[in-house]
Symmetry: D2
Subunit: 239 residues, 4 copies
């Protein structure tokens, strides 16, 4: 399994507290979550500052699952790269979108909606409850996952009805949020998972790390397979 | 629109506080919610103690939407009546299942699962958030509906993935619950709505009453229509 | 109900047989289908050649449901108009996408996938079978609808799993197609219906016309309503 | 993976042509399909005539996936065994229901609907088209699977909307059918697959055998896992 962990890497390089919280960057924390649970995976990282944001055609062609974290610089992501990522997802590459990545161009383009939500950064406690306990992404996590300090993300979350709703969170303020959702788009699988923020050490939380690793495994394409192709045969199906 | 409001009517007739809270019975409170919003509806009530629980073949044949409240006496509902209700739902009668009706024989038979959930009766505050704002059942209700005192119903709620998830609730204890769900079964529409309890005056809450009335309207069949029938024609479709 | 019927109107103005088949244009045929079934509706038409394709901010602000037919000139539709239509759908305007509109910029942008499919224009017979008989869009149509001559549209149809699958078609060549699908996006409802082609008189077929009229009615927003708004309150939900 | 292949085994023991077509019984053909693709699986068979139909508490407790074929003797299956199977599915055992098993007590009880459909036994050609190409159950099968002689199963198929629709079939007569569907019920996964009949050698068809093997693999529970349990804690979630 070949995983590319993408991060805009802006907060970490401009804010001391974030750099201290995530000394290897958020991408470093996410990458180690994947590696810890899937030692066999080949994990690399890429950031906004890299040429072509580190997401060249060649990199994506060699990626089974891409994870995405962005927040402060969504609009700086090049439209050409966004289209490239979308094309690869539709062709079968898995995509795991984390937290504020809900407003990334890529996610909005794949879902077609505004992907807006309510939010508040006030050290809420988040509880992540499992509503689809048979789903492989929920494997091995407690019910609920308790996150002591977290940004609040609340409904209404303007997404299409997810294909599968796995987690629902509550917050100290009383809000709720569909915090773990899957979507199939073309031949690709998408998992959105909201827990995680630059201002809180959520990506060091062992249960959050397990969910991310589970999500990456789930989103990976299942080996070589025959893709149905367009066949505009004049004679109909008959062979 | 012909509505039959069913209630086991046990708490009201055996517990003084419930009788005081719901002097017309829970069925009376539910019936008036429907009538207040749909003055043109023909609403009648039926209870466990009635012959055949008030749900004869004739009554059901003249019912567009049946609402169901039960709690203490699920097992006393006659299996023949349960099958009759199931048959009418599959043939197109709407069904609105309220609160503890989640464990009624009828609901469990139509859904196929245990319909179990977590619960606690400790005067939680319940907030009911809308996650499908275009749905007619969500029309006219605030975001969130706030219910000061209520029994807690929490996940995991063992139901099939609903066709539409309209409301998610949070509780003072931090729990979440899929509190407004729709299911289509056969030619019938089912709406489950959890807020409401014999121990709290929830059925007098104006927003809860509006949701129940919206749900009844939504579940009603859309006039006469052609039902696809079984046609085992030896010659295939061709006319 | 205010309906705007959009048509690129290219085939009708450049091909004699299409002009003869649809003397009022495909938009004329679609508009009359709506008017025949909903005499109270205020229906207007707009085409590619109109300034801003006839879809100004003012027109869309006064539209409850937009229907879309395009085929030969998808790429000539201005991106600004596409974004405007998307914005209005997300804000609650209904959208009915017809036949080759599956490749329109608007539909692809709202769904996020390629929306490709298999096809063949060889006078197939199409049978349209109802698989959701309680759906209002299926009201009053036979099972199946039989269309004597039609272009074949076949799977794999690269769309997200629809929220509701209402119709499945078969073709003389043995192919199948998900020919009637609904999607909710933001506060808007989308109905895709594939039967209909410039080369065949399908939009004069009474059952096809009824489905289009049903779809328009279904997609219309349900009056004024409170839209949940973003509320990033520092103090949490509590009032 | 421990698989139990159940078959009523009535046609094979009472009709010479069926016995000739399936000398090891339909259960023998299904069992070998699983073994061929999953040599590591521990596969056993059970039939109606066995004590408790071969489905004792002990057998089910040692079963990861149960496959079900029945047709002529649905009503002879003991209600106690049906409840036992349902209980195990809800607790996590996978279930693969084949062909005429759609009318088995077990399937109807888990789905809650009549599960009726249209049918015709007239040597139709069935084409099985993939509409969810990323699904593991569709792996390795052609698009379409062509079955030369088969019983026709047609819509309307009275099931709840499936969680995932994987295959749609067409037949020589022009009918369509949702021939591959998944449902999650409780902690168990259910796959329904219609191709296969006692009167045709469909269970010897290599693509049909592959789909059955894929379905068994998909339905198997994912190892030991923590099941969310009911916790009616008086103090709320807080630890």
């Amino acid at each position: 399994m070949r995983v590319t962990v993408w991060n805009e890497n802006v907060h970490e390089t401009t804010e001391a507290d974030v750099a201290e919280r995530y000394p290897e960057g958020i991408h470093g924390a996410v990458a180690s979550a994947v590696t810890d649970h899937h030692p066999e995976a080949r994990v690399r990282t890429a950031t906004l500052a890299d040429p072509e944001h580190g997401l060249t055609e060649e990199v994506l062609a060699g990626t089974d699952v891409l994870t995405w974290w962005g927040h402060a610089a969504h609009e700086e992501v090049d439209d050409e790269v966004v289209e490239r990522v979308q094309r690869h997802v539709l062709a079968g590459m898995g995509l795991v979108v984390l937290h504020s990545g809900h407003l990334s161009k890529t996610f909005r383009r794949l879902l077609g909606t505004t992907c807006n939500l309510n939010w508040r950064s006030a050290q809420d406690r988040e509880l992540v409850w499992t509503v689809d306990p048979t789903h492989p992404i929920a494997r091995g996590v407690p019910h609920p996952i308790a996150i002591e300090s977290q940004e609040m993300y609340g409904e209404f979350f303007d997404i299409p009805a997810p294909d599968e709703l796995i987690f629902i969170s509550s917050f100290s303020g009383g809000e709720v949020f569909r915090s773990g959702c899957t979507f199939r788009r073309g031949h690709g699988r998408i998992f959105y998972f909201s827990p995680g923020d630059q201002a809180f050490p959520v990506y060091h939380h062992p249960d959050v790390r397990r969910v991310i690793a589970n999500g990456v495994r789930w989103a990976a394409p299942a080996g070589e397979r025959e893709i149905p192709v367009l066949r505009n045969r004049p004679e109909g199906w008959f062979e």
